[in-house]
Symmetry: C2
Subunit: 737 residues, 2 copies
């Protein structure tokens, strides 16, 4: 039975080898002239400076958190201090995932620019191959990490015990894996928030002075903030996203494993392990077919559709994964299983996986509708730009709020359907199915900022119009894929959180989370509020950092004569330093909220109130995530529509017109929405769930009494003698006698 455990890590190793070979291919491509290389060098240097500054802070956090986990593991009988090692490993791999992506992106960017001098086909090949290095690398690291750790713990805790393997051993192994996921997701949060603040502070600052005040184009070499802006694409959209999806991927698989270990699958051929290893297998299959699918992404002519090429790659990997999953389910799982009293067959599990794939696809399609050019939502914003800045903003906010409806309905139906097929395990495996082709999603996502950077380098190097035209073509596709990728991420996060939520309930030993109880309802309110304060902190941070950037750029234009005539070089590194410093400083507070609130609430009020809090965070976080991401995407494309000219009430408007200026305001407001706070929501909800899961054994109803207990259930008060029976360290607040 043991051999199956080796398959997953082996797939991971193979994927990493593939990544290495592909990466070498990218490095072999031409880099262009000295000027381009110099500019690319600034970007790479700025990006590394940020990563180093970020890692310096995070390493302190990781060491402290690991010590705490190690100590906590020794305080509860069933827990293991090994969790601390897993936590560190998760953190390191997550940071590595970000690094791999950023390293290749800062190499692929200039090589894509150079390729764009030849043809669109070649530019796509270089930029997308750069993307696949990141996609396959991140996914490979994730399943090597999870699969390898599981193998190690399996040897550690089970081998030699024979039939004496207990549920407790399994629980402990899974708990350690939760530590791995916690490490990954914490780094993901900081990387996403820090990177998001970095990129948007630079972008907003560069645009406000450069485009609006000085009237120079985007990515103009005379703009002191332009290097910081291009660095931002790498640290936010590449490194941040890499760490983010690494964390999501791991969390989703883990949640399914946790629920899987509760399943009685003793009739399978793998010692009852099959429901636990199935999610890793699905991930492995998805990774293999993501690689295969990536081979289909190519065009031959200048006029071929880039979007279509990406779609072919994406769809082929999804369909192949769906087909192959059927065999994996059939071969691995026993014919029928029971989980928390719900019986289901192996085919039911397969239907849940398909449900997840459908939900993910629908979410992407809805997101595309709300953010794509030429569709009703974006057109309505364009129309409202005709009456000024304010109506443009009102239009975008309204579109963003409206765009929550369809995704929430899809999600609700998805939850109920996958539950209908295979209970909570079904919900969880649906999320795993949705995330299976993460490698492909990430390749497509990472291609966007590479193309964006390539365009920036083309503009800064003042290359011929046709080069910039080719990179713009790639960049426009990248904007759409970025938006749909976010829809996908938030859907998977919602399902994953639900699965983690279910896992938390099981580990904490509670049987219900009843919002009819006053304290649980209070938890629900407070949980609902967290995404608001989290978003507020992220947005305000971007606003503040952007103001610093604006003032610095204004200062350079004022104090360094000759910048506008290309006679003097701006001090790029000062702007890079502002973004770096601001993002590192500002990521602390939101990160602390996500990590500390569940711990404080859990230990003070117990697991049921914490459950209410998690439900509030999840619902509110999903809504705020969709709202902000889609509003931002729609504003962005409303602005972009002006490049080709738009018609408002029969009149034609172009760039630099008053309606276009209004649309630029909307885009600027949307920037932190769609690239800082919006995409952080999905990490926030997962991270808070994972923290809860990790502390669950410590606050479980069987071995902990919360400090405050406000009569969970309306009750006939206990007689005085019973009250006295409560442990001395508990302050009892029951509804009055």
């Amino acid at each position: 039975m043991n051999y199956v455990l080796y398959i997953v890590p082996i797939i991971g190793i193979l994927a990493l080898l593939y990544t290495f070979v592909t990466s070498k291919w990218v490095e072999k491509q031409e880099t262009g002239d000295a000027n381009m290389v110099e500019l690319a060098g600034y970007i790479a240097k700025g990006a590394m400076a940020f990563l180093k500054a970020e890692w310096r802070i995070l390493s302190i956090f990781v060491v402290m958190a690991a010590c705490l986990l190690a100590w906590a593991g020794t305080t509860v009988p069933d827990s293991s201090p090994v969790i601390a090692i897993a936590f560190c490993l998760g953190a390191i791999l997550s940071a590595t995932a970000g690094y791999i992506g950023m390293n290749i992106a800062t190499k692929a960017n200039v090589r894509t620019t150079q390729a764009a001098r030849t043809s669109l086909a070649k530019a796509l090949k270089v930029s997308f191959t750069g993307g696949t290095v990141m996609g396959m690398g991140v996914a490979g690291l994730a399943i090597l990490g999870l699969g390898g750790l599981f193998l190690v713990f399996y040897q550690l805790f089970f081998v030699g015990k024979g039939t004496a393997v207990t549920g407790l051993d399994m629980k402990r192994a899974i708990e350690v894996l939760a530590g791995f996921s916690l490490g990954a997701e914490s780094i993901a949060l900081f990387a996403r928030v820090g990177g998001g603040i970095y990129t948007k502070a630079a972008d907003v600052g560069a645009d406000l002075v450069g485009k609006v005040e000085a009237g120079i184009p985007e990515d103009d070499v005379r703009n002191p903030a332009t290097i910081a802006d291009n660095v931002g694409d790498n640290v936010g959209d590449v490194a941040g996203m890499g760490a983010d999806l690494f964390g999501s991927y791991v969390a989703t698989i883990l949640a399914t494993m946790v629920l899987g270990q509760e399943i009685d699958a003793s009739k399978d051929n793998y010692g009852g392990l099959s429901p636990i290893i199935l999610p890793m297998f699905i991930a492995g299959i998805g990774l293999i077919f993501s690689i295969v699918g990536s081979w289909f992404v190519k065009i031959t002519k200048e006029t071929d559709s880039v979007q279509r090429a990406l779609n072919i790659g994406n769809w082929s990997s999804i369909i192949m994964t769906a087909v192959a999953s059927y065999f994996a389910v059939k071969i691995l799982l026993p014919a029928d299983m029971i989980h928390r009293g719900v019986q289901f067959t192996s085919m039911d599990v397969y239907y849940s996986i398909i449900t997840g794939l459908i939900v993910g696809t629908l979410m992407s399609m809805i997101t595309e509708y709300y953010t794509a050019m030429g569709k009703r939502p974006v057109l309505s914003i364009i129309k409202q730009s005709g009456t000024g800045h304010a109506t443009n903003i009102i239009g975008g906010l309204s579109v963003g709020m409206e765009s929550t409806v369809a995704p929430i309905l899809v999600l609700a139906v998805g939850i109920v359907t996958s539950y209908f097929f295979a209970g909570l395990y079904g919900v969880s495996i649906a999320a795993a199915g949705m995330m299976a082709t993460t490698a492909m999603q990430l390749s497509i996502d990472a291609f966007g900022p590479i193309a964006d950077n390539a365009g920036g380098i083309a503009e800064m190097s003042r290359l011929p119009e046709e080069v910039r035209h080719r990179t713009d073509n790639l960049d426009a596709v990248g904007n759409t894929t970025a938006a749909t990728g976010k829809g996908f991420a938030i859907a998977s996060a919602a399902l994953t959180s639900l699965a983690l939520f279910a896992a938390f309930v099981g580990v904490a030993g509670i049987t219900s989370i009843d919002i009819y109880h006053a304290d649980v309802l209070a938890g629900l309110f407070i949980g609902g509020m967290i995404p608001f304060i989290f978003s507020s902190l992220c947005i305000a941070a971007v606003g503040r950092a952007a103001m610093d950037m604006v003032n610095e750029v204004r200062r350079q234009f004022r104090e360094i004569p000759g910048i506008m005539e290309y006679k003097a070089k701006p001090e790029y590194e000062k702007c890079v330093a502002i973004s770096t410093k601001a993002s590192i400083r500002e990521m602390i507070a939101p990160g602390a909220i996500a990590l500390l609130v569940p711990v404080i609430v859990g230990f003070t009020f117990g697991p049921e109130v914490l459950g209410g809090l998690l439900a509030g965070v999840t619902v509110s976080g999903v809504l705020m995530g969709i709202f902000q991401s889609n509003a931002g995407g729609a504003w962005d494309n409303a602005k972009k529509s002006f490049e080709k000219g738009v018609e408002i009430n029969g009149e034609k408007f172009f760039k630099k017109s008053e309606p276009h200026k209004a649309s630029v305001t909307g885009d600027t407001v949307g920037d932190p929405f769609k690239d800082t706070s919006g995409p952080s929501m999905n990490i926030l909800i997962k991270l808070m769930s994972i923290v809860s899961l990790v502390i669950a054994p410590h606050i479980g109803v069987n071995n902990y009494k919360p400090l405050f207990k406000v009569s969970g259930q309306p009750h006939i008060s206990a007689p005085a003698t019973q009250i006295n029976a409560v442990p001395a360290n508990t302050i009892v607040l029951t509804a009055k006698k």
Copy 2:
């Protein structure tokens, strides 16, 4: 025992008499010159035109809904068709409440302008007295309606039955009162949304063309939309708010009565009725002391603080009510009671009332902090106006989101504390305590738009500077009270919804709402989404109507020569018609969502899923309400700060500067936030709870099987024989066998 039942309606009648006398006093005041009277006439005519158009549509709705209720009442054994009459009565009284306010406001406005020609003291007296007519009138109608109806039903259902009065009789009487509340709250929703769309479409339209494009001051008689703008103050801020607070007041008292009838208070001297009549008594006491408190609102010198005078009136009424409530509780309630198994004393109930008063006060203080000039939040928006429109918007959104934190914490502590004292009855009576001085709150609230209108008439009549200065002084205070009033309203709505929620659980006969169940969680997600789509519809409606208004005003400036030189009169009535038509058309969709969603979800998925939906609506609605109201208030005062000049990075800026223009954008975005969608949230959450309460007997677990049932609880599937036992009209979706 019977005499106590008469006290409440008598207080209501006395309050209405007081209202009548006060109203006559206002009418006796001087109206000023012919020009002023003409302008005031336009405003009054426009306001009545809107009310008539609104009533025409709503009367169709009321008749249809009443027929449905009457029919439904005959289908369930324990229900009464009398509910239809109560529903109509609630609707009519709510509309009357709006009418009383609007009628007096359109008279008090021009009289305040005239009084302002003499002194600030006199202007305050006229405008505030106008406000009290509305405040006392609305509260008087509410307690006369509720108290009178209860008296009637008491005679109808109980008298003569002696000890044979059953819980069923009482349930039926309360159910009928729920119909009264439903009628009131439905009209409130339409009035608030319709009025809110009206006022902001006119305001935004008038500002965008008048102030921004034509460069004429606010309320300039040359602006074609200025009359519509002033009408808007009356239909939105007066009539809409009157119906709104009438609905809230009734809903809060009703919710407490519903929970009160479950209490075993047989040891009191009033046949066990005391917990039911207590909330009406508290309301009556609050009304009396609101009248007394209103006598303290006066100033004598030009330099006296208007805000201070209002605060003295407000505080004295709150403190007198708090003291008098003590005696009411002591006299009425028995020494101890039991509600749903929770035992508490009469003093515990009193502490809950005090908790409510404290929560309300804190909410007002927090709101004031976030929206007042000179405080950190508004100052941060001013600073961010220095870098343009976009950063101003980012600043306001960030402040709005941040402002949810403290109110949610206060609310959570308030819920748990009042529950701690007296269980769910405590939560409910806390809301009733908070709402007790509604008459005073409403007087203060209504004073604002009257002063605003008075200023408008002064400007349009081109009266001397000092007159406008006095009305501006009153108007500025009115802006602050408007903001704090909203904080208060949302807090009371949250507590009331919770009480209605508890009442719903009781009537529907369910024992828990467990978000660990997949379908309840799906309900929670969908519920959380409702406030987003509701807000989106409201905001988009304002945006669309404002565009129509902008185009009409531009057309008039273009096509009617001589407007700018005061030679030709603009066609005011065309702008009035645009606002009227748009608001009536656009209020339908959001209203339908609020009314239909609970019915559809309740009948399709059953009461537990509906409970999840309600929890989602409440949490999300409270958050969105606070976010939008405070963001709007802060933007407004950031803009107002420019009138006296602000300092940004050491430089001084005034009106017409670039930062000021950015602040105008923020204010315009904030307009629909703070006056349309934001304040509608509290009606939305209450209305959906009341609809659920009214349908609760029909979907109760004992006499209805939902159409779809997705395995509420993880379970071992029932054997086939049991599945067959489900009624034929039910489609069973349990987790698969």
